[in-house]
Point group: C2
Chain length 230, copies 2
Protein backbone atom coordinates (compact mmCIF):
# COMPACT_ATOMS: atom_id res chain seq x y z
CA UNK A 1 0.00 0.00 0.00
CA UNK A 2 2.78 2.42 0.83
CA UNK A 3 4.87 3.68 -2.05
CA UNK A 4 2.47 2.76 -4.79
CA UNK A 5 4.32 2.66 -8.06
CA UNK A 6 4.28 5.86 -10.05
CA UNK A 7 4.90 5.79 -13.79
CA UNK A 8 5.97 9.40 -13.92
CA UNK A 9 6.15 11.08 -17.25
CA UNK A 10 9.32 12.88 -18.21
CA UNK A 11 7.48 16.16 -17.89
CA UNK A 12 6.51 15.39 -14.31
CA UNK A 13 9.98 14.23 -13.42
CA UNK A 14 11.57 17.41 -14.70
CA UNK A 15 8.90 19.52 -13.03
CA UNK A 16 9.60 17.75 -9.75
CA UNK A 17 13.32 18.33 -10.05
CA UNK A 18 12.92 21.99 -10.91
CA UNK A 19 10.56 22.34 -7.96
CA UNK A 20 13.05 20.91 -5.52
CA UNK A 21 15.78 23.13 -6.95
CA UNK A 22 13.60 26.14 -6.36
CA UNK A 23 12.91 25.07 -2.79
CA UNK A 24 16.55 24.35 -2.07
CA UNK A 25 17.44 27.83 -3.20
CA UNK A 26 19.63 26.57 -6.03
CA UNK A 27 17.32 28.54 -8.28
CA UNK A 28 17.10 31.91 -6.62
CA UNK A 29 14.41 34.56 -6.78
CA UNK A 30 14.07 36.12 -10.20
CA UNK A 31 16.33 33.62 -11.89
CA UNK A 32 15.51 33.07 -15.57
CA UNK A 33 14.57 29.66 -16.92
CA UNK A 34 14.52 29.54 -20.70
CA UNK A 35 12.89 26.62 -22.42
CA UNK A 36 16.05 25.79 -24.34
CA UNK A 37 18.16 25.90 -21.19
CA UNK A 38 15.93 23.41 -19.45
CA UNK A 39 15.71 21.30 -22.58
CA UNK A 40 19.44 21.03 -23.07
CA UNK A 41 20.32 20.57 -19.40
CA UNK A 42 17.89 17.67 -19.05
CA UNK A 43 18.56 16.46 -22.59
CA UNK A 44 14.94 16.52 -23.68
CA UNK A 45 13.09 18.23 -26.49
CA UNK A 46 11.96 21.78 -26.07
CA UNK A 47 8.21 21.01 -25.97
CA UNK A 48 8.87 18.69 -23.05
CA UNK A 49 10.79 21.38 -21.21
CA UNK A 50 8.04 23.83 -22.05
CA UNK A 51 5.41 21.61 -20.50
CA UNK A 52 7.43 21.26 -17.31
CA UNK A 53 7.85 24.99 -17.03
CA UNK A 54 4.17 25.54 -17.59
CA UNK A 55 3.39 23.16 -14.76
CA UNK A 56 5.47 25.18 -12.35
CA UNK A 57 3.89 28.37 -13.63
CA UNK A 58 0.49 26.90 -12.83
CA UNK A 59 1.76 26.08 -9.34
CA UNK A 60 2.78 29.67 -8.83
CA UNK A 61 6.47 28.87 -8.44
CA UNK A 62 7.44 30.42 -11.75
CA UNK A 63 6.19 33.57 -13.33
CA UNK A 64 5.89 34.41 -16.97
CA UNK A 65 3.95 36.38 -19.52
CA UNK A 66 3.43 35.60 -23.18
CA UNK A 67 6.66 35.54 -25.13
CA UNK A 68 8.64 36.27 -22.00
CA UNK A 69 11.12 34.06 -20.23
CA UNK A 70 9.90 32.25 -17.14
CA UNK A 71 11.46 33.40 -13.89
CA UNK A 72 11.39 32.16 -10.33
CA UNK A 73 8.75 34.18 -8.49
CA UNK A 74 9.87 37.16 -6.47
CA UNK A 75 7.92 37.36 -3.27
CA UNK A 76 7.49 40.87 -1.99
CA UNK A 77 6.01 41.81 1.39
CA UNK A 78 2.54 42.14 -0.15
CA UNK A 79 2.72 38.65 -1.61
CA UNK A 80 3.80 37.23 1.72
CA UNK A 81 0.83 38.81 3.46
CA UNK A 82 -1.45 37.59 0.70
CA UNK A 83 -0.17 34.05 1.01
CA UNK A 84 -0.34 33.85 4.77
CA UNK A 85 -3.81 35.38 4.93
CA UNK A 86 -5.07 32.88 2.38
CA UNK A 87 -3.58 30.11 4.49
CA UNK A 88 -5.22 31.45 7.58
CA UNK A 89 -8.58 31.53 5.85
CA UNK A 90 -8.50 27.89 4.98
CA UNK A 91 -6.70 26.54 8.00
CA UNK A 92 -8.71 28.33 10.65
CA UNK A 93 -11.97 27.03 9.19
CA UNK A 94 -10.45 23.58 9.11
CA UNK A 95 -9.47 23.73 12.76
CA UNK A 96 -12.98 24.75 13.77
CA UNK A 97 -14.36 21.84 11.80
CA UNK A 98 -11.89 19.34 13.23
CA UNK A 99 -12.55 20.54 16.75
CA UNK A 100 -16.26 19.91 16.29
CA UNK A 101 -15.57 16.20 15.91
CA UNK A 102 -12.49 16.31 18.16
CA UNK A 103 -10.64 14.62 15.36
CA UNK A 104 -6.87 14.81 15.87
CA UNK A 105 -5.17 13.46 12.76
CA UNK A 106 -2.37 11.04 13.53
CA UNK A 107 -0.29 12.35 10.65
CA UNK A 108 -0.18 15.76 12.27
CA UNK A 109 0.97 14.25 15.56
CA UNK A 110 3.69 12.36 13.74
CA UNK A 111 4.74 15.45 11.80
CA UNK A 112 5.20 17.36 15.02
CA UNK A 113 7.25 14.54 16.46
CA UNK A 114 9.43 14.77 13.38
CA UNK A 115 9.96 18.46 13.98
CA UNK A 116 11.14 17.69 17.47
CA UNK A 117 13.51 15.04 16.14
CA UNK A 118 15.34 17.35 13.75
CA UNK A 119 15.40 20.40 15.94
CA UNK A 120 19.12 20.21 16.52
CA UNK A 121 20.00 19.87 12.85
CA UNK A 122 19.98 22.36 10.01
CA UNK A 123 17.11 24.83 10.25
CA UNK A 124 15.92 23.98 6.75
CA UNK A 125 15.13 20.43 7.85
CA UNK A 126 12.21 21.79 9.84
CA UNK A 127 10.46 22.97 6.69
CA UNK A 128 9.34 19.58 5.45
CA UNK A 129 7.69 18.29 8.65
CA UNK A 130 6.28 21.73 9.40
CA UNK A 131 4.64 21.78 5.99
CA UNK A 132 3.44 18.26 6.56
CA UNK A 133 1.85 19.23 9.87
CA UNK A 134 -0.29 21.81 8.16
CA UNK A 135 -1.20 19.77 5.08
CA UNK A 136 -2.22 16.82 7.21
CA UNK A 137 -4.65 19.02 9.11
CA UNK A 138 -6.16 20.14 5.84
CA UNK A 139 -6.35 16.64 4.47
CA UNK A 140 -8.03 15.45 7.65
CA UNK A 141 -11.33 17.04 6.72
CA UNK A 142 -11.48 14.58 3.85
CA UNK A 143 -12.51 17.05 1.19
CA UNK A 144 -10.75 16.49 -2.09
CA UNK A 145 -11.26 20.01 -3.41
CA UNK A 146 -10.12 21.71 -0.26
CA UNK A 147 -6.95 19.66 -0.30
CA UNK A 148 -6.48 20.55 -3.93
CA UNK A 149 -6.93 24.25 -3.24
CA UNK A 150 -4.44 24.12 -0.41
CA UNK A 151 -1.99 22.33 -2.67
CA UNK A 152 -2.17 25.22 -5.10
CA UNK A 153 -0.86 27.35 -2.27
CA UNK A 154 1.70 24.96 -0.89
CA UNK A 155 4.46 25.87 -3.32
CA UNK A 156 4.49 29.49 -2.35
CA UNK A 157 3.96 28.71 1.31
CA UNK A 158 6.99 26.53 1.26
CA UNK A 159 9.06 29.25 -0.33
CA UNK A 160 8.08 31.50 2.55
CA UNK A 161 8.93 28.85 5.11
CA UNK A 162 12.36 28.38 3.62
CA UNK A 163 12.95 32.07 4.03
CA UNK A 164 11.69 32.10 7.59
CA UNK A 165 14.00 29.27 8.53
CA UNK A 166 17.01 30.56 6.67
CA UNK A 167 16.71 33.87 8.46
CA UNK A 168 16.10 32.18 11.84
CA UNK A 169 12.98 34.20 12.35
CA UNK A 170 11.30 31.61 14.53
CA UNK A 171 12.45 29.34 17.30
CA UNK A 172 11.83 25.67 16.64
CA UNK A 173 10.71 25.20 20.24
CA UNK A 174 8.01 27.77 19.73
CA UNK A 175 6.74 26.18 16.54
CA UNK A 176 6.66 22.86 18.29
CA UNK A 177 4.87 24.15 21.36
CA UNK A 178 2.22 25.95 19.39
CA UNK A 179 1.55 22.99 17.14
CA UNK A 180 1.18 20.87 20.24
CA UNK A 181 -1.22 23.32 21.81
CA UNK A 182 -3.30 23.46 18.63
CA UNK A 183 -3.67 19.71 18.65
CA UNK A 184 -4.70 19.78 22.29
CA UNK A 185 -7.32 22.44 21.63
CA UNK A 186 -8.75 20.35 18.80
CA UNK A 187 -8.89 17.35 21.09
CA UNK A 188 -10.67 19.46 23.67
CA UNK A 189 -13.22 20.64 21.16
CA UNK A 190 -12.18 24.26 21.47
CA UNK A 191 -12.26 25.20 17.81
CA UNK A 192 -12.40 28.93 18.25
CA UNK A 193 -9.36 28.93 20.52
CA UNK A 194 -7.46 26.72 18.11
CA UNK A 195 -8.26 29.05 15.24
CA UNK A 196 -7.09 32.03 17.27
CA UNK A 197 -3.84 30.38 18.21
CA UNK A 198 -3.26 29.46 14.59
CA UNK A 199 -3.85 33.06 13.62
CA UNK A 200 -1.17 34.07 16.10
CA UNK A 201 1.13 31.33 14.90
CA UNK A 202 0.81 32.35 11.26
CA UNK A 203 0.61 36.05 11.99
CA UNK A 204 3.94 36.08 13.77
CA UNK A 205 5.73 34.25 10.98
CA UNK A 206 4.05 36.49 8.47
CA UNK A 207 4.91 39.83 10.02
CA UNK A 208 8.48 38.88 10.87
CA UNK A 209 9.06 37.73 7.32
CA UNK A 210 7.50 40.90 5.98
CA UNK A 211 9.78 42.94 8.21
CA UNK A 212 12.82 40.97 7.10
CA UNK A 213 11.93 41.77 3.51
CA UNK A 214 11.86 45.49 4.10
CA UNK A 215 8.14 45.90 4.74
CA UNK A 216 6.80 47.36 7.95
CA UNK A 217 5.85 44.67 10.41
CA UNK A 218 2.45 44.61 12.05
CA UNK A 219 1.92 44.04 15.77
CA UNK A 220 1.64 40.28 15.29
CA UNK A 221 5.44 39.98 15.08
CA UNK A 222 5.92 39.93 18.86
CA UNK A 223 6.47 36.97 21.16
CA UNK A 224 3.62 35.06 22.70
CA UNK A 225 2.67 35.10 26.34
CA UNK A 226 3.23 32.04 28.43
CA UNK A 227 3.79 29.21 25.98
CA UNK A 228 7.53 29.15 26.52
CA UNK A 229 8.68 29.37 30.19
CA UNK A 230 11.19 32.17 29.50
Amino acid sequence: MAGRIAAVSIVDAIAADLRSRVFSGELGSGEALTETDVATSYEVARPTAKASIEKLVAEGLLDRGTHKTARVVELGPESVRDIYLARAYLESEVLRRLARTKDVPQEAVQANRDIAAVKTGAPLDVVEPDMRFHTSLIDAVGNERISRMYRSLVGEVRLCMVRVQSLHLLDTELILAEHQKILELIEGGQGEAAAELLDEHLGRARERLVAAMGGSAGPEAGYPSGLLPE
Copy 2:
Protein backbone atom coordinates in the same frame (compact mmCIF):
# COMPACT_ATOMS: atom_id res chain seq x y z
CA MET B 1 -9.99 50.39 -19.04
CA ALA B 2 -12.85 47.99 -19.61
CA GLY B 3 -12.33 45.26 -22.16
CA ARG B 4 -8.58 45.49 -22.18
CA ILE B 5 -7.27 43.81 -25.29
CA ALA B 6 -6.34 40.19 -24.87
CA ALA B 7 -3.67 38.74 -27.14
CA VAL B 8 -4.99 35.26 -26.58
CA SER B 9 -2.86 32.41 -27.67
CA ILE B 10 -4.42 29.76 -29.83
CA VAL B 11 -4.22 27.37 -26.93
CA ASP B 12 -6.20 29.70 -24.70
CA ALA B 13 -8.77 30.36 -27.38
CA ILE B 14 -9.41 26.68 -27.92
CA ALA B 15 -9.50 26.05 -24.21
CA ALA B 16 -12.07 28.81 -23.81
CA ASP B 17 -14.23 27.40 -26.56
CA LEU B 18 -14.09 23.88 -25.19
CA ARG B 19 -14.97 25.24 -21.79
CA SER B 20 -18.06 27.00 -23.04
CA ARG B 21 -19.08 23.89 -24.94
CA VAL B 22 -18.84 21.90 -21.75
CA PHE B 23 -20.91 24.44 -19.86
CA SER B 24 -23.53 24.62 -22.58
CA GLY B 25 -23.94 20.88 -22.41
CA GLU B 26 -22.86 20.41 -26.00
CA LEU B 27 -20.13 18.21 -24.57
CA GLY B 28 -21.94 15.93 -22.18
CA SER B 29 -20.72 14.07 -19.13
CA GLY B 30 -18.24 11.36 -19.96
CA GLU B 31 -17.81 12.44 -23.55
CA ALA B 32 -14.39 11.62 -24.99
CA LEU B 33 -12.10 14.31 -26.33
CA THR B 34 -9.28 12.91 -28.39
CA GLU B 35 -6.28 15.09 -29.08
CA THR B 36 -6.54 14.40 -32.79
CA ASP B 37 -10.27 15.14 -32.78
CA VAL B 38 -9.73 18.52 -31.19
CA ALA B 39 -6.77 19.17 -33.46
CA THR B 40 -8.64 18.44 -36.67
CA SER B 41 -11.88 20.15 -35.69
CA TYR B 42 -10.05 23.38 -34.83
CA GLU B 43 -7.52 22.88 -37.62
CA VAL B 44 -4.46 23.13 -35.41
CA ALA B 45 -1.55 20.85 -34.69
CA ARG B 46 -1.94 18.10 -32.17
CA PRO B 47 0.48 19.59 -29.61
CA THR B 48 -1.65 22.71 -29.57
CA ALA B 49 -4.80 20.69 -28.98
CA LYS B 50 -2.97 18.74 -26.33
CA ALA B 51 -2.07 21.88 -24.44
CA SER B 52 -5.68 23.07 -24.52
CA ILE B 53 -6.92 19.79 -23.19
CA GLU B 54 -4.35 19.81 -20.43
CA LYS B 55 -5.53 23.24 -19.39
CA LEU B 56 -9.06 21.99 -18.94
CA VAL B 57 -7.79 18.98 -17.07
CA ALA B 58 -5.99 21.31 -14.68
CA GLU B 59 -9.26 23.18 -14.23
CA GLY B 60 -11.04 20.00 -13.30
CA LEU B 61 -13.43 20.10 -16.23
CA LEU B 62 -11.82 17.18 -17.99
CA ASP B 63 -10.49 13.99 -16.56
CA ARG B 64 -7.71 11.85 -17.82
CA GLY B 65 -4.97 9.45 -16.81
CA THR B 66 -1.71 8.80 -18.57
CA HIS B 67 -2.18 7.41 -22.05
CA LYS B 68 -5.92 7.61 -21.69
CA THR B 69 -8.34 9.76 -23.61
CA ALA B 70 -9.58 12.88 -21.85
CA ARG B 71 -13.26 12.83 -20.93
CA VAL B 72 -15.67 15.39 -19.60
CA VAL B 73 -15.87 14.89 -15.84
CA GLU B 74 -18.70 12.83 -14.49
CA LEU B 75 -19.99 14.34 -11.31
CA GLY B 76 -21.44 11.83 -8.92
CA PRO B 77 -23.33 12.65 -5.72
CA GLU B 78 -20.09 12.46 -3.71
CA SER B 79 -18.37 14.95 -5.99
CA VAL B 80 -21.29 17.33 -5.74
CA ARG B 81 -21.15 17.24 -1.96
CA ASP B 82 -17.40 17.68 -2.07
CA ILE B 83 -17.68 20.70 -4.34
CA TYR B 84 -20.42 22.42 -2.41
CA LEU B 85 -18.76 21.85 0.94
CA ALA B 86 -15.51 23.30 -0.37
CA ARG B 87 -17.45 26.31 -1.60
CA ALA B 88 -19.12 26.71 1.76
CA TYR B 89 -15.75 26.64 3.50
CA LEU B 90 -14.39 29.53 1.53
CA GLU B 91 -17.52 31.55 1.12
CA SER B 92 -18.70 31.46 4.70
CA GLU B 93 -15.34 32.70 5.94
CA VAL B 94 -15.48 35.44 3.34
CA LEU B 95 -18.91 36.56 4.47
CA ARG B 96 -17.77 36.79 8.08
CA ARG B 97 -14.82 38.86 6.97
CA LEU B 98 -16.89 41.17 4.79
CA ALA B 99 -19.44 41.67 7.54
CA ARG B 100 -16.71 42.79 9.89
CA THR B 101 -16.07 45.80 7.68
CA LYS B 102 -19.68 45.99 6.46
CA ASP B 103 -18.30 45.96 2.98
CA VAL B 104 -21.02 45.23 0.42
CA PRO B 105 -19.38 44.81 -2.99
CA GLN B 106 -21.18 46.71 -5.73
CA GLU B 107 -20.48 43.94 -8.24
CA ALA B 108 -22.52 41.54 -6.13
CA VAL B 109 -25.41 43.96 -5.99
CA GLN B 110 -25.28 44.36 -9.74
CA ALA B 111 -25.07 40.60 -10.27
CA ASN B 112 -28.22 40.10 -8.25
CA ARG B 113 -29.99 42.78 -10.26
CA ASP B 114 -28.99 40.87 -13.38
CA ILE B 115 -30.52 37.71 -11.98
CA ALA B 116 -33.77 39.57 -11.47
CA ALA B 117 -33.63 40.89 -15.01
CA VAL B 118 -33.38 37.49 -16.67
CA LYS B 119 -35.74 35.65 -14.38
CA THR B 120 -38.39 35.30 -17.02
CA GLY B 121 -36.02 33.92 -19.66
CA ALA B 122 -34.37 30.57 -20.05
CA PRO B 123 -33.33 29.05 -16.72
CA LEU B 124 -29.75 28.64 -17.90
CA ASP B 125 -29.36 32.41 -18.18
CA VAL B 126 -29.39 32.61 -14.42
CA VAL B 127 -26.17 30.65 -14.15
CA GLU B 128 -23.82 33.39 -15.28
CA PRO B 129 -25.02 36.18 -12.95
CA ASP B 130 -25.46 33.71 -10.11
CA MET B 131 -21.85 32.62 -10.51
CA ARG B 132 -20.83 36.25 -10.73
CA PHE B 133 -22.61 37.04 -7.48
CA HIS B 134 -20.54 34.51 -5.64
CA THR B 135 -17.21 35.27 -7.30
CA SER B 136 -17.60 38.98 -6.66
CA LEU B 137 -18.05 38.27 -2.95
CA ILE B 138 -14.85 36.26 -2.97
CA ASP B 139 -12.95 38.88 -4.93
CA ALA B 140 -14.14 41.57 -2.54
CA VAL B 141 -11.74 40.46 0.17
CA GLY B 142 -8.93 41.54 -2.13
CA ASN B 143 -6.78 38.48 -1.68
CA GLU B 144 -5.23 37.28 -4.89
CA ARG B 145 -4.64 33.71 -3.73
CA ILE B 146 -8.10 33.23 -2.34
CA SER B 147 -9.57 34.40 -5.63
CA ARG B 148 -7.25 32.02 -7.42
CA MET B 149 -8.28 29.11 -5.24
CA TYR B 150 -11.93 29.83 -5.80
CA ARG B 151 -11.31 30.02 -9.53
CA SER B 152 -9.95 26.50 -9.41
CA LEU B 153 -13.36 25.48 -8.15
CA VAL B 154 -15.48 27.64 -10.39
CA GLY B 155 -15.47 25.28 -13.35
CA GLU B 156 -16.99 22.44 -11.41
CA VAL B 157 -19.31 24.72 -9.50
CA ARG B 158 -20.65 26.01 -12.74
CA LEU B 159 -21.27 22.52 -14.01
CA CYS B 160 -23.33 21.87 -10.91
CA MET B 161 -25.27 25.09 -11.37
CA VAL B 162 -26.12 24.21 -14.93
CA ARG B 163 -27.57 20.97 -13.67
CA VAL B 164 -29.54 22.64 -10.93
CA GLN B 165 -31.06 25.07 -13.38
CA SER B 166 -31.72 22.52 -16.11
CA LEU B 167 -33.60 20.37 -13.66
CA HIS B 168 -35.47 23.37 -12.20
CA LEU B 169 -34.40 22.42 -8.72
CA LEU B 170 -34.52 25.96 -7.40
CA ASP B 171 -36.87 28.84 -7.84
CA THR B 172 -35.21 31.99 -9.16
CA GLU B 173 -37.19 34.08 -6.71
CA LEU B 174 -35.71 32.15 -3.86
CA ILE B 175 -32.14 32.55 -5.11
CA LEU B 176 -32.75 36.24 -5.52
CA ALA B 177 -34.30 36.70 -2.11
CA GLU B 178 -31.54 34.84 -0.31
CA HIS B 179 -28.80 36.71 -2.12
CA GLN B 180 -30.50 39.93 -1.15
CA LYS B 181 -30.76 38.88 2.47
CA ILE B 182 -27.10 37.90 2.54
CA LEU B 183 -26.10 41.33 1.32
CA GLU B 184 -28.29 42.94 3.95
CA LEU B 185 -26.75 40.86 6.71
CA ILE B 186 -23.29 41.88 5.56
CA GLU B 187 -24.32 45.49 5.58
CA GLY B 188 -25.66 45.05 9.09
CA GLY B 189 -22.42 43.49 10.28
CA GLN B 190 -24.07 40.19 11.11
CA GLY B 191 -21.40 37.90 9.73
CA GLU B 192 -22.45 34.78 11.55
CA ALA B 193 -26.03 35.05 10.36
CA ALA B 194 -24.87 35.67 6.80
CA ALA B 195 -22.67 32.59 6.93
CA GLU B 196 -25.55 30.51 8.25
CA LEU B 197 -27.90 31.68 5.55
CA LEU B 198 -25.28 30.92 2.94
CA ASP B 199 -24.94 27.44 4.36
CA GLU B 200 -28.67 26.99 3.95
CA HIS B 201 -28.56 28.46 0.47
CA LEU B 202 -25.80 26.16 -0.67
CA GLY B 203 -26.99 23.21 1.34
CA ARG B 204 -30.38 23.19 -0.31
CA ALA B 205 -28.96 23.32 -3.82
CA ARG B 206 -26.48 20.66 -2.86
CA GLU B 207 -28.89 18.13 -1.40
CA ARG B 208 -31.49 18.58 -4.11
CA LEU B 209 -28.89 18.05 -6.77
CA VAL B 210 -27.58 15.02 -4.94
CA ALA B 211 -31.09 13.63 -4.77
CA ALA B 212 -31.66 14.31 -8.45
CA MET B 213 -28.55 12.33 -9.21
CA GLY B 214 -29.71 9.30 -7.35
CA GLY B 215 -28.02 9.94 -4.02
CA SER B 216 -29.97 10.22 -0.81
CA ALA B 217 -30.72 13.81 0.06
CA GLY B 218 -29.91 15.25 3.44
CA PRO B 219 -32.35 17.35 5.49
CA GLU B 220 -31.05 20.57 3.93
CA ALA B 221 -33.11 19.93 0.78
CA GLY B 222 -36.27 21.39 2.24
CA TYR B 223 -37.78 24.83 1.75
CA PRO B 224 -36.88 27.80 3.92
CA SER B 225 -39.15 29.41 6.46
CA GLY B 226 -40.47 32.88 5.81
CA LEU B 227 -38.33 34.24 2.99
CA LEU B 228 -40.98 33.65 0.36
CA PRO B 229 -44.57 34.60 1.28
CA GLU B 230 -46.07 31.16 0.63
